[in-house]
Amino acid sequence: MSAAKVKMREKKMRNQPASVQYPSSSSNVESSTQNGADAPGTGKNADPLKGGLSEVHPSTERQKKTPHQSGWVRGHHKDGGGYTKEMPKYVTAGAFARARAAEVSAMLKAVRKTTSSSRVFEALPKHMRRRAMSHNTKRLPHRLREVANRMREKGLQAGSKKKKEQAKSKSRKARRRHGNLLLEFNRRQRKNIWLETHIWHAKRFHMVKKWGYCLGDRPTYKCYRACYRAMSSHCLLQDLSYYCCIELQGDEDKLLAALSQLTSKEAGPTFAAALCLSGRRQGSVMVYRAGRYPSQPLGPVTFLWRPRTQGSVHRQLWIWAHPTLKQDLLPELQTVCQCCEAVLPPAAPVEVNPTLEAENTPEAKPVPGTKRKRSRKDATGPPAKKILGDGTRLPSTPVSWRSSSNGIVINDLTMEIVRYRLIGPQSHSVLVDTLEAATGCDEVPKSQTCSLWWPQHCSDEAKMTLHQQQADIFNILKGIYSTAELPSGTVLGLTVDDPRLTLPRKRVKALPCVKQAQEVDEEKRRKLMLEGVPEPCCQSFIWEQSVRDNVTDNKISEQELNRMRSEVLVPGSRLSPTPLQGRVPILLVEQPGKQVGHEMSSWGAGWDLLLPKGWGMAFWIPLVYRGVRIGGLNMSLKHSQNKAAPHFPRDYPDCPAGMRFQEEQEAELLNKFKRHPPAKRTNYIKHGCVAPFRCPWQQLAEEWEIIVQEGGSQTRTTAQADAVTEERTSQQAISITKPPSRFTVLRNRKALKLLSAWCRPTTSKGQRPCRVGELPPISCEAVTSFLSAHAMSLVWVHVSLPSKGKPEYHAMLCVPTPDDLKALGNRQGTGGPQEPPHRDHFKSRIKRRKKDPKKAATPSVTPDKPDGKKADLIFASDLDTNASKDPKSFSESSSDLVLGLWPDPLPSVASHCSRVTVGWVTQGDFSMSAGCGEALGFVSVAGLLNTLLNQTSEHKGKLLLRNPTSLHYRFAKINIEV
């Protein structure tokens, strides 16, 4: 008998009276006792076997021993249960009764005792069950309560052992008390920064933790189309405060000299562009590592110069970057500006502010005694202070760096400035409706020194005239119908009243009122439209640290404001003297809409609103009350897609942030894929999709480089390309030690223009013939010379599907064969060609893996993906090991075989399918502005040029697009837009 069986038997017998015996084995047969002659008190004994041995009662001995059968036997036995035929001659009444009594008690005990897992209420019939019975034992019938209570206690004890650390949670009321709630919120934002609108968003949005922030991804309600409509006809609001601002201060020429290392004029205007330098426009630029122009890009940034002050060369520059870009950009800026001295922040500035405020507020507000007491108590109690700005950073972390050699100062203003983006043609109406230029304050006597910044400014004549000019310009905005009418990137500085004071009582939709404004300032409006905002009006006090801090510290709390409102004589009327604290310096920046392409130009233009920190919610709610829609990260992706603009970091595969994004995305998609049962997964191998979750750009660029080198300008057939890649693999095996040159994304404006002209159909209805005189027509020589410069490049293309089809991300862009194009010419309406289904060689291998692990890889499997750690590892192992160890390396790689996915050394990506792949789509969807499927993606320059050379002029720029989950190719038109 195995140990487990013994254990089970013991468990079974534990509560049985000793007289009850099950036959276990022949070994203990003789030791067991007979029916009806049990020893008294053996029922108590836990171990029947032992009891049988040790407590042999005299009465038992008298019994006749049966050698074969002993005890009660469970079930039916052939020989009639094996009872002895002879009945006992006499029965001792006392012993007999005792034995029976023990049996009865054991039986009763067994009945009462519930077996392991069932709860008390589970024994009840269905109709007697009640909701939450396990929680509240009083819902049980009275007779069961005691048992249930006992069980519950036992359960609680067991539970408390497990999670002893968990503190006894306070009551909900205590938890929701303001101070405790704040503490809890502060604890929760230690890891991921919360924006100021976090709570508002968390109630309405699906939140995601990304880039160290908690961000709203998409609303929980259905509003995809409504948001699109808002973007194209009214206004969509987004909180972009997670964008990081880096401030540079220093002399203009030194700053420009330092920054010029990061940019290149070939890729468009740089930091030094005249209009941006004056501070009248916001500029955007692509940043590279210092002096590494085409090869090592970092990412796109927007920048804003503070307008010059008279007679000073000292300038201030804000660089706005995406948080994933900041970690690369900041060290680069420090090296470029030689700013290595970290300026330690002044001793705990965070602690200074709350005490200041705590001192200010009790004096400022004449509140009843109880309230004052509480506020005093709060001030002395634990500092449950609302976190403003970056909560994840330690107070001792330096945020400022100074250079000893050239005097440049870098400040990290992350989370110091709130940035809201309003997208849509009516966003200026929303702004005009919400904001009001600050009212002056004449009644304040000048002798009184005030801690607030506005009264001090009011006393300065020059500042007030400037404010008046700014207010005038802001009022002109009323007469404009669409945001796109203004020059793109216009900057307007302003000081406004607290928008909470003019909050409408109901949510209204802000609409332009052109008529009443028309006759007022026709001339001024024209001037604004043509020339933009004059330079002095771009100045704002938000640039000054002291003013920002002053405004943030002296903000009237919501509670205080409501109290002041309740004291107004006429309920609902405006507070008549606007409180002095309620003046906020802001900056308005116009965002250009769609700038490329011919259709839907300036779609999605809007305004950015820059506020000092702490004022986020005070402006957010009034904006929401003007009938705007709110969008999350999802909508900003759609916005850039409709604008045909690349979206950072998704569409920057050559930047470090883009690479990180791709890795994350791959892991996420793979996880999602693996969550499906294998039979329900798409078999991507059968669909001929080599990499459904990532785009191996490097491999693609390398393959195309070699195809072009080998074959010149001929069209590659699949077999040829295959041969080439195989050959290449052998080459690579030899020259593996040489690091391969990395692929880059082509951003040279001149080269892009040339490409754009080449892939445009030269004769087509509705399109003007482009100015061919300036650009060389496409030819072999031109292509060769172009490729010599940009062979390893990818180019950003805009894809539109003229017929059916909705492109998805990672869809393949392929080259149509001449037959396909012929078929397209014949029957316009039909879709595209079909890909023949592929065979999944790996499926059988996954099954056979355990039996035959030594099967070699197919010859088409080529280890050519040099970027990515895994591939490198495999390379390394391939190099180290020889042919003898080869199967081993394969078995290693086969250990992570996933059904339906190619294992890691991918085959040739370009020539895997019947149509040669030139690129992939990075984002695609049905475009509601164009009414057809539209996608954005990259193609290899070499592949594209090779294709264009072989296409006739009417079919220039026609490619095939195939989704990873489909075998159907669709015709697509590509455009390269500069």
């Binding site: 004029k265 005249a274 043609p425 119908y481 669409s482 796109a484 052109v514 043509l530 011919h598 839907m600």
Partner: protein
């Protein structure tokens, strides 16, 4: 004709860049150094019976839209606006409407000039050039299609 609005303020809807006119690249400046970027024509609020004609939408669809307004929509008059290249099409639509109504409809055409704004962005390497803005004029037509009141 009682045109309620200032005729010079008319425009076409934003979806229709109908002003794909033959604006030759600026003669007075070097075309290499500047990129021409056209802004949209100024947009004004429109009434229900305003129809802005563009070159992108199918002609029949625009005609059907006008007919629907006149017959089903209960409007006694509609205004058909066309700018630049779309003038031809606006006239065409108006005439088709009149022909299909067997003379019940009357036309009153009005022309105007619309001021358009172009941005010229410099592409010079030393980045000293200021972006320029220039205005140019384009013709527009406003055709009132209406049932005469005498009936």
């Amino acid at each position: 004709m009682t045109e309620p609005r200032n005729p010079s303020m008319s425009s076409i809807p934003q979806t229709g860049p109908a002003h794909t006119d033959s604006s030759s690249p600026a003669v007075e400046m070097d075309p290499v150094e500047y990129t021409l970027r056209k802004r949209l024509p100024r947009k004004l609020p429109k009434r229900r019976n305003d129809v802005y004609v563009n070159m992108k939408t199918d002609f029949r669809a625009q005609l059907a839209r006008c007919q629907k307004l006149l017959e089903g929509g209960g409007h006694r008059e509609i205004c058909v606006h066309g700018l630049g290249l779309a003038i031809n099409r606006a006239i065409n639509i108006a005439l088709q409407l009149q022909a299909s109504s067997q003379g019940a409809l009357q036309l009153a055409a009005n022309t105007s000039t619309v001021e358009l704004v172009d941005d010229l962005e410099p592409e010079d390497p030393d980045e000293a050039g200021e972006p320029m803005t220039r205005t140019r004029n384009n013709s527009a037509i406003h055709i009132k299609v209406f049932y005469p009141d005498a009936q």
